[in-house]
Amino acid sequence: MTTRRQFLERVAGSAAALFAGAGVSAQTPAQRGMIHDTMVMKDTTNLFAMDQNAARSVRLPPKPNAVPVLSDDERDDLEHRIHCQCGCTLDVFTCRTTDFTCQVSPAMHADIVELVRGGYGAQEIIDAFVNTYGQRALMAPKKSGFNLLAWITPGIGVIVAGSILAMLLRRMGRRAASHAPQSRPVALDVDATPDELARLEAAVRGDDDA
């Protein structure tokens, strides 16, 4: 499986090649053949390719006189926060209880069970998984350091866009108010109730939408 970094490098390389006038024709017949060969074997479905060997051991020595501090339900909740490493996008609990026949999530589950038996709490277990697998062991990035950007950017984006919108609306409202007399030439001195006026307005407008 091509890694993201390899892919990004390939994109950059290909773009450079295209600008240099090389492009697709630069691909050798051998390379083209290779692509076709791999397609026969790999491109059988658009479901992901599972990496059954992705599990690593996450074990710590039991604490002295260890007793579990997490109930089974709390352990399951914890498993919802840890990302299965088989290549799916599911958490350990969901993956191990679905039909992907994944061997990674049961192994990760076994590690979690051992750590719970060893007296470790939820955060300690999460830290142990992060130490072994890195941040990708989490279902969502930590709210600290660079990854804090992931969490705050959408909110900042909406607030900034909302502020700009509010500013524009206020400015437009002021401009419209200054032109108001010209935009209201019709007097209301007609013998009609508001309902009748409304019906007339709707009929004139031929309005049929929201």
């Binding site: 970094r5 992901f48 992907f100 709707a202 309005d207």
Partner: protein, 682 residues
């Protein structure tokens, strides 16, 4: 022979599309009608050639020509015919051809039906559509040719993953493609309008029609995908914020934003820049979605593995973005609004807030989807951005959007008065509060869920009020029965009331989402004759008695099945059987991994969802039992949105519609306010 004709047709289609693009742009620049005409005919010919190529591939599939690599890798001799037919779009090469087929068909229809009404735009729209076709056909022909042959002919093919052999999966991808591809037509007309600087109302009707079509098919496609994931994958949910799910959601969001903001342009001549941007962004997001599906750049359960087309898509995406930015930037003066927004409390403003939220959600989803790439590039660190992120960020925005779904249609155009607000919102607000208070009194304490149901009550109140007022008015004026009044009301105001039906679907969907907060699951190990007792989220006691584990061999699979007899509060509900299946080829060899067939009892209040996880011995089953509240409401909401969408799209005799500038002769505010409260068209 048909296959050879098919392959040749693909290359001829590429030449035709290239000619159509060249002739159309050249004809437009040189003002030569014969070139423009030739370009249009080139587009029609492209469709014919792509159709021929598609027939060639279908022929190869249906005749099981395993000498063709694509056929050998997608089907096997034991597969049902229907899935052999749908194998056309089940892989990279075929789906790209399918994309080209839909696009060339759409392009032909769009150009043929708009030639008279949009004469100035046609050459550029044709050229743009042909350019997109060149890209797709070239990608297919050079990088993922569905007609590539093997050096040998295998006895049987690999077959299709059994999880994909599902009616939902047979029609879910085509619907998504129909939705994705339809964004190309508004994009082409937007590009044409930008090129010609004819940015008034004339391009809007075409664009709106095709955006609606795109929205409709994306809605159906997304819903079918959710249903397939729910019944087939066995993880008990229907939406996992997978990058590919997100990719389909993004253009749906921007399409929805456009379908609201276009009303402001139609009525008031405002938001002209914004609407162009939304049209363009919807298309670019469709391309982006295809890019991330096929490049492997983002980890997804859907990724086409070892895909060589990602680079091409990246290049096309950046090229389209660059051209569009240049065109919009150089045409800004032509996109000035023709009217000013007068108040922050008006329907125009409400639609703007709606656009802000829809685009805010789209941005949050896009950001979460691409953040792993950013993180890896900046910090060389792989991270996962999963459901906890998307739920945390999107739930508050979604709830605000739900509130606006109720506010937008009721508030007056131009400027709402206090009396307007009181009259329009009193009953719905009371309805919402009653729902909230009752649920709180019943013991519901989850803050988000309470807010969600209160808002659902409010929005449902606004919809009911609108229908009630409209029907009463018709009854008073035309002396019609209630049902006749309802039919005429909807029939004569399809956009408005079809839209309300879509909104009703949205309310139902939010209610269903909120219901999943009470999902309850248990993992059990149960032996034959044993029972397991638990309570569901409503407090009812359920008892499941194991009827045992059975094994059987079929022609194409071996099956292990565990059956539970279910009782609710002592009353028998029925048998629930969950299976594990191992599919086999004609020689009896295992195909793919073992898969699960869920056991399901579906009721409006909740689903009982059973998964057989393991069979440790002949008498023991390990199972997961999940109570999923209100899942049926999700599928019902999909039907409602579909019906509402069809009503909105259904052709209606066009009435002369005053364009922007109408507001300048509107009477005083009192009358305007009253008008907006009036059920129109009665």
């Amino acid at each position: 022979m048909t296959v050879i004709i098919g392959e040749l047709s693909l290359w001829v289609a590429l030449l035709m599309a290239a000619w159509s693009m060249t002739a159309s742009f050249a004809g437009a620049r040189l003002r030569r009608d014969e070139l423009v005409e030739s370009g249009v005919r080139g587009l029609y010919a492209t469709f014919a050639m792509v159709l021929l190529a598609s027939i060639g591939l279908w022929t190869a599939l249906l005749t099981k020509d395993f000498s063709i690599e694509y056929v050998a890798s997608k089907i096997s001799s034991t597969m049902p015919s229907v899935y052999i037919f749908t194998a056309f779009w089940s892989g990279q090469a075929g789906s790209l051809l399918f994309w080209a087929l839909i696009l060339s068909m759409y392009a032909t229809i769009a150009i043929a039906t708009s030639r008279k009404s949009n004469r100035e735009l046609i050459p550029y729209a044709t050229g743009t559509l042909a350019a997109i076709l060149v890209f797709f056909i070239a990608t297919d022909a050079f990088k993922a040719n569905p007609f590539a042959r093997l050096d040998f002919t295998p006895l049987d093919g690999n077959g299709m993953n059994p999880q994909l052999q599902n009616p939902g999966m047979a029609i879910h991808p085509p619907n998504l493609y129909l939705g994705y591809v339809a964004t190309a037509i508004p994009f082409a007309f937007a590009i044409a309008a930008l090129f010609t600087r004819r940015l008034d109302a004339e391009w809007l009707s075409v664009v709106r029609r095709w955006t609606l079509l795109s929205w409709f098919f994306l809605t159906v496609g997304i819903m079918l995908g959710m249903w397939w994931a729910y019944v087939e994958l066995g993880w008990g949910g229907y939406w996992a914020w997978d990058p590919v799910e997100n990719a389909s959601f993004l253009p749906w969001l921007t399409n929805t934003a456009f379908l609201h903001s276009i009303m402001i342009q139609e009525k008031r001549g405002m938001l002209r820049k914004w609407n162009v941007v939304l049209v363009v962004v919807s298309f670019l997001l469709s391309i982006f979605g295809t890019f991330i599906t096929r490049s492997g750049v983002i980890e997804s359960v859907h990724s086409f593995s070892q895909s060589p087309v990602g680079t091409w898509f990246a290049f096309f995406f950046f090229l389209s973005t660059g051209v569009t930015i240049y065109l919009v930037a150089t045409r800004l003066p032509n996109l000035e609004a023709k009217a000013e927004l007068e108040s922050m409390v008006s329907r125009e403003a409400a639609f703007l807030y709606n656009n802000l939220l829809l685009c805010g959600i789209a941005f949050a989803v896009l950001w979460g989807t691409v953040f792993p790439i950013i993180s890896e590039w900046v910090k060389n660190e792989k991270i996962t951005v999963g459901p906890p992120f998307f739920n945390t960020v999107n739930v508050p925005l979604g709830l605000l959007l739900l509130a606006l779904t109720g506010v937008g249609p009721l508030i007056a155009w131009r400027r709402a008065s206090v009396s307007n607000l009181k009259r329009q919102f009193a009953s719905p607000a009371i309805a919402g509060l009653v729902v909230g208070v009752v649920l709180f009194a019943l013991g519901m304490r989850n803050g988000y869920v309470l807010v969600a149901y209160t808002l659902c009550g409010f929005v449902a109140g606004t919809i009911v009020q609108e229908f009630y007022k409209g029907m009463r008015a018709r009854q008073a004026i035309h002396e019609e029965s209630l049902i006749t009044a309802f039919i005429h009301l909807v029939g004569r105001n399809r956009r408005r009331y079809g839209g309300y039906i879509v909104h009703a679907g949205i309310v139902m969907l939010f209610a269903a989402f909120a219901g999943m907060a009470f999902k309850k699951e248990s993992d059990i190990t149960i032996r034959t004759g044993e029972s397991y007792q638990t309570k569901d989220p409503y407090g009812h006691t359920w008892k499941f008695v194991s009827q045992g584990v059975s094994t059987s061999d079929r022609r194409d699979r071996s099956v292990k099945a565990a059956t539970l007899d279910a009782f609710r509060d002592g009353r028998r509900v029925g048998l629930i059987t969950a299976e594990k299946r191992q599919y086999k080829d004609a020689m009896g060899n295992d195909l793919f991994n073992e898969i699960t067939e869920i056991g399901l009892k579906s009721r409006p209040r909740q689903d009982v969802y059973v998964v057989l996880t393991q069979v440790p011995d002949a008498n023991t089953a390990e199972m997961r039992i999940t109570f999923n509240p209100l899942v049926m409401w999700v599928w019902t909401s999909g039907f409602l949105m579909m019906i509402g969408g069809l009503i909105v799209m259904w052709p209606q005799a066009e009435r002369r519609r005053p364009q922007a500038g109408y507001a300048a002769v509107m009477p005083a505010h009192g009358a305007v306010t009253a008008a907006s409260e009036m059920p129109v068209g009665v």
